[in-house]
Amino acid sequence: MIPVVCFENVCHQYDKNDILKNISFNVPQGSFFIIIGPNGSGKTTLLKIIAGLEKPTSGTISILNQIVNKYSIKELAKVLAYVPQTSPVDFPFSVLDIVRMGRSPHLGLFGDENNDDIKIAEQAMIFTHTDHLANRKINQLSGGECQRVSIARAICQEPQILLLDEPTAALDLGHQTRVMDLMEKLKTERGMTIIMISHDVNLAALYGDNVLVLKDGEIIAQGTPNDVMTYETLEAAYQCVVLVDESPLGKHPRITLVPEKYRT
């Protein structure tokens, strides 16, 4: 498999604290790549480094076989889209305006679109079931709707790589599965590489092709969910007691938290 994102010995420091320590990994093309790990383990920093939002202290990163520093900001925006954890907007843009902004890297200075751009925006909205919201104001939407609009905007960028920072964190069960199914569809139908941070180990086990476990800025495990999501790894990562068995759906590990009252 061809790697679309390749980290070689990447270190990152912030205020003299090591956030990432000597990280090396590859993300295969067209895979659903999920990063898990406890709070403060450096997941968001890692994602921001891929997105070009943070510069690593040392190490090299290549995206689509090209060193990341050689991309201009606009070129990078054509191959890589980013969906942050939350993106509050205080200004009353309509959903349609927001989604269309995703076309910007492909457009000129004034962002004037041709019919193809508008069609791409419409398709992105249909794909994410946000087309009925087109004329609503972004600051009047619910959390789940906002998240889908944010994803529609990113899809509109037509990237090869989609980065998402905990897109399911604020969503109810139904919306969680819908967002994850959407990502799976982007992967299989459009060949997009999905790189996602998740706090939900069960979602990671059900959807991920590759899982990377980060702890204190270091990779402690990496591989398929079946390889990575073992009792030992998860307990080491999260410092809690879990049970791991097979999901009733088969092939996927299932993780059950063990509350203190059940521990013997």
Binding site: A51, L53, F93, P105
Partner: protein, 332 residues
């Protein structure tokens, strides 16, 4: 979804409507003044029957109305840019201390007897840049453009600037005191076509530059990470926009003193009417902001029984209640 593909059509449509409003208010502006309030005399003068009034219209009112239009346009646009950069609808150069810094520079320029142009303009610009630099130093730490800390340090600096202005005013003992105080309140009365010419040469390129940055400003409203991920060079764009708009603000401050609330009221009003797209808001802020200031100046000249009021008083007296009303409405 039929609003497609005609952004230029929408821009020019709204620009033409607001430009016609501006021209209409400018005609009103030259037609009335403190010496003459009835329109019949104006029509008479235009027909050539009253050469004295005609020369008042051309040599006093016309440059003044033009100046008012430029000042209104600059203040509205300055407010719009600061609101976009700080992602806060309450930001304004006035509140951030940029205007205050420019005023300190301006007073120092006047006190050392520099000419309005380029002397006072330059000291005002130095003053505004110094405050801008201080705002950045105070609010920096992790991110240079962290929005709340920038606004907070701006508010504090503005209060400090106000104190320095009061100090400078209180040490002036001579005849310049009255003119400084009147200038500080916002004064459009001392002007001629030559100075309006200088101002237009300085301001029009700034307007055009900000217009070219109107789509990047839309993306900046999404937050710096998202703007960056959509291909915008966030730091470079923000800093150039800040410097350009501080420059235009200092030009107007050096000519007309401190005129508040325009930069809050006009962008808000236009955003409520036209939406948040800066490609449309930038031209409409220039024309409608100009029209608003021409009207305020007309009121300042004609409301008082004798003499005239300072236009800064009018903009604040209309602006503050209007702004509260707009805020109330936009919350519901």
């Amino acid at each position: 979804m039929k609003t497609a593909n005609n952004i230029w059509l929408r821009i020019s449509g709204i620009a033409i409507i607001t430009l016609i409003t501006l021209i209409f208010t400018m005609v009103m502006g030259v037609s009335m003044g403190s010496s003459q309030k009835d329109l019949y005399a104006f029509v008479n003068a235009v027909r050539g029957n009253d050469p004295t009034l005609l020369s008042i219209i051309w040599q006093i009112r016309f440059p003044r109305v033009l100046l008012a239009a430029f000042v209104g346009a600059t203040l509205s646009l300055g407010g719009l840019v600061f609101q976009a950069l700080l992602r806060n609808p309450l930001a304004e150069p006035y509140i951030l201390g940029i205007s205050g810094g420019a005023a300190i520079g301006g007073i120092i320029g006047i006190l050392i007897n520099l000419s309005r142009f380029p002397g006072v303009c330059a000291t005002a610009f130095i003053g505004s840049m110094a405050t801008l630099a201080l705002v950045f130093i105070f609010s920096s730490g992790q991110t240079a453009l962290a929005k709340d800390s920038l606004l907070l340090s701006g508010v504090i600096l503005n209060a400090f600037c106000a104190a320095v202005i009061m100090f400078l005013v209180s040490i002036v003992q001579d005849s310049r005191l009255h003119s400084i105080i009147f200038w500080l309140m916002g004064d459009l009365s001392h002007t001629d076509l030559k100075h309006v010419g200088y101002i237009s040469i300085l301001l029009i390129p700034c307007f055009l530059y900000i217009f070219t940055m109107s789509h990047p400003m839309n993306l900046l409203l999404m937050g710096k990470d998202l703007a960056h991920s959509m291909g915008i060079r966030v730091k470079a764009t923000s800093i150039t926009l800040l410097i350009v708009s501080s420059f235009m603000i200092s030009v107007t401050v050096s000519y007309c003193g401190l005129i508040g609330f325009v930069g809050l009221v006009m962008p808000h009003l236009l955003r409520m009417l036209l939406g948040s797209d800066h490609r449309i808001l930038v031209p409409s802020c220039v024309f409608a902001g100009g029209a608003y200031m021409v009207l305020c100046d007309l009121l300042a000249r004609t409301l008082a029984k004798s003499g005239e009021m300072s236009v800064g008083v009018i903009t604040a007296m209309i602006g503050a209640p209007l702004f509260i009303y707009l805020l109330k409405r936009s919350r519901t």
